[in-house]
Amino acid sequence: MSSSRFAVTSDRLSLEPLIGLVSAPGDAAPGRPGAVATFLGLVRERNLGRRVLRLEYEAHERLAVRAFERIDAEVRARWPTVRLALHHRVGRLEIGEASVAIAAGSPHRAEAFAACRYTIERVKQIAPIWKHEYFEGGDVWIEGATADPDDEQARQEALGRSCA
């Protein structure tokens, strides 16, 4: 488990260290948080009617960490009191395992929730990470939209979903 706030790792993810990273005293954020919102994305056993056997995640790791740092900068610009941590797993994942873990700490809960939701939306939009689904009867790369961190419409969509 990485001790960085932003990481891509083949280790199993755990929220506890992320919560520690966003609630440590004495860092740049104004005091300790009163609220921590977190998100875990888990491998589901069914997708689009298929029975999933496992997933394999592949990343452009250095670019992914930079994308996470970019998202962090977007979050701080919008919610200056929020401190964020985000780990994404790569490699082979079994059903029920976590692919992504996010923690957002803030003095008050409104900002923590909004920043956490915004972050997962942006990760889906711009993190260079791909999911290879192995299901009963075949396998497929899950591809959605072109990754473009400068797409302002996508960013506004993420902001809208964060209920900010």
Partner: protein, 83 residues
Amino acid sequence: MRVTIRLFARLRELARRDELTREVGGAATVADVWGALAREFPALEPYTRSVSAAVNDDYSPMTRALANGDDVAFLPPVSGGRR
């Protein structure tokens, strides 16, 4: 000049390699490198409209002019689940 090309996910599978080095013209852009790559590996051609690029580990527009030794990564669309 020479650039390193890195391919990910389905692009990597279609080209059957994750990294290659190619000689390109002195004024080559990212788009030029992709065009040459799609000619060399026609299976990549359908990604011309949806591919993203990164140069030296930063996202880059396709119009960017490359320098000798640049690392150019081509990225298929990300999963970007809408829910």
